[in-house]
């Protein structure tokens, strides 16, 4: 897909994603809702079909041939994820249902072991509800409280505040790598350093980070890194929790059930070793296999090519937005991923979304499951066009045409 000049063959890439040729209301689909979920390449669809049609069988418990194949493929997928994020060992990769499930797991198990009355959990104003509510629920149970890193007018975090917010009661810092609502990148490395200076572990929500740049968890040095398969071109219902071994070892299990146990009696149960301790019940092993195929696909294109293509699209969209005018962009800074979060002057985002939809352009409108950052800006919501490497400048042009159409209709 990348020719010898290292240039994208965009048509070839687009042909890998069957959904991209779909028509909506008789128009060619322009899919700009990649922040919500990404489309799947044929290789992922094929991996899922192959699993269900040639070797499907439950893992880790069969005496038979197919169960062996399924188990091997599942564990190979775990290794694939390990190498993709450069974790030290496979035991540090726990499969979950997604980012939300991963954060709930950590909030519960970490909370049980390490949080007591009066303790604090530090988050940021940029967080998705999935990185707020599980902590809030845990804080209610443990009588602890949330502290929040504020946001500047340009959508960046007020890092100066960190020194005041981190104190001896802070037990964990949980921050997003990239804001899902604005697309701004958070300097997580700096936050991790500051937290580590105070011996505080850090969870990084990589739901919007993993698909837009190389992630090396050892270089980041975070204690936990979580992401969803479906936002990184993999299937829905599969996600990852990376955790440093010593932390995962020390935390109690989250859910009980099959596969996570060592020995069960009615007097008590001993638990399986990592990572199975945190994988109760039949795992979504087909999802994991599909996710591994998605990561293979990404590597076949090259993350550096993805980053280049996406940053070109973002710059182009920025120029076109400025040209057309009457648009207010939120989080309009250089350090951002390919998300345009904006409002059209005097137009409700939902009206704009409805009109764009009928033009075949899929965007998301509203608060993007991140109400605190909307409140910070004193708005109810924005229009979010989230692009990725299979999008084109022509599609950006169509979006701008759509914005102009909305402006004319709303006059």
């Amino acid at each position: 897909m990348i020719n010898k000049y290292n240039v994208f063959d965009i048509n070839k890439i687009r042909s890998n994603f069957p959904v991209l040729s779909t028509k909506v209301y008789g128009r060619q689909l322009v899919y700009f809702d990649n922040g919500a979920t990404t489309q799947k390449p044929e290789s992922v669809i094929k991996a899922l079909t192959e699993a269900y049609s040639t070797y499907y069988s439950n893992i880790h418990r069969g005496v038979h041939a197919l169960s062996d194949i399924s188990s091997e493929k599942y564990e190979a997928a775990r290794e694939r994820i390990r190498s993709f994020i450069n974790a030290s060992s496979k035991e540090e990769i726990v499969f979950t249902a997604g980012t939300t499930a991963s954060i709930n797991l950590v909030a519960f198990s970490f909370g049980e072991r390490y949080i007591s009355s009066g303790d604090e959990v530090l988050l940021s104003t940029l967080e998705h509800h999935a990185n707020i509510v599980p902590w809030q629920m845990m804080c209610e149970r443990r009588n602890a409280r949330l502290r929040v890193i504020p946001v500047n007018d340009d959508g960046t975090l007020c890092l100066d505040e960190l020194d005041h917010l981190i104190n001896e009661r802070t037990k964990i810092v949980a921050v997003t790598q990239v804001s899902n609502a604005l697309g701004v990148m958070v300097p997580v490395r700096k936050i991790i350093e500051k937290a580590h200076n105070n011996n505080i572990p850090v969870l990084v929500d990589g739901a919007q980070g993993i698909q837009h740049g190389k992630v090396d968890v050892r270089e980041l040095d975070c204690e936990f890194y979580v992401f969803s398969g479906h936002k990184v071109y993999g299937p829905t219902g599969i996600g990852v929790l990376y955790g440093k071994r010593e932390w995962l070892e020390s935390m109690p299990p989250y859910q009980g059930g099959g596969d996570m146990v060592d020995r069960v009696t009615f007097k008590g149960t001993t638990y399986n070793k990592l990572p199975f301790k945190f994988e109760a019940g039949t795992a979504n092993f087909v999802g994991a296999i599909g996710l591994a195929a998605a990561l293979d696909y990404i590597e076949s294109i090259g993350m550096e090519n993805i980053v280049r293509q996406e940053s070109e699209l973002t710059n182009y969209a920025g120029e076109r937005f400025e040209e057309t005018g009457g648009v207010r962009i939120f989080g309009n800074i250089k350090e951002k991923i390919s998300i345009m979060s904006f409002l059209i002057d005097k137009v409700h985002p939902y009206d704009a979304g409805m009109i764009l939809d009928k033009m075949g352009i899929a965007v998301r409108t509203g608060a993007h499951c991140a109400q605190p950052i909307m409140t910070r800006f004193g708005i109810d919501g924005t229009i979010r066009a989230s692009m990725c490497f299979y999008n084109t400048k022509e599609e950006v042009d169509m979006l701008v045409e759509g914005i102009d159409k909305v402006k004319t209709m709303m006059l």
Binding site: Y25, M354, M409, M410
Partner: protein, 146 residues
């Protein structure tokens, strides 16, 4: 507060006729925007949480009043296309008796292609508003009987 003398079916048929003139969505939306603009603005005093119906994409307020055994609705939204659809619902259901509202078959929604906008998967407040209109009618009827 004008009494709705036109039958519930007749109003719906008129709306369907109007919509049949449009062969594309932009014209339909243009029309809804006009309807939205024509809907009298709701007094700010009614735009409070008490009268807010659920919906997270856009906000919809609904205020019922009753006189002579009929229910009259005032409604508003912060999104103009939603406001246009509200205007249609008010045209059809405001100034009716509780029984008329409870028993109403709102076939115009399907026939005008607006059902997508009133589907439970769209949290724009419109479906909740429609439910709320019927609930007010049921409550009013119960109150009348007691």
């Amino acid at each position: 507060m004008s009494q709705n003398d036109t039958g519930i079916h007749q109003v719906q048929d008129e709306i369907i006729d109007e919509f049949s003139l449009f062969d594309n969505w932009m014209d339909r939306y243009d029309h809804l925007i006009e309807e939205g603009k024509e809907l009298p603005a709701m007094d700010e005093k009614f735009k409070k949480n008490e009268y807010l119906v659920e919906g997270c994409q856009s906000r919809v307020w609904l205020y019922p009043e009753s006189s002579d055994g009929k229910i009259y609705f005032k409604a508003d939204s912060d999104a103009i296309i939603v406001r246009g659809i509200i205007a249609l619902l008010v045209k059809v259901l405001s100034g009716r008796t509780p029984d008329e509202i409870i028993d109403s078959d709102l076939y115009f929604i399907e026939k005008t292609g607006l059902s997508q906008n009133l589907s439970p998967t769209r949290s724009n407040g419109l479906l909740a508003m429609l439910k709320q209109m019927k609930l007010y009618a049921i409550a009013y009827k119960a109150k009348e009987k007691s």
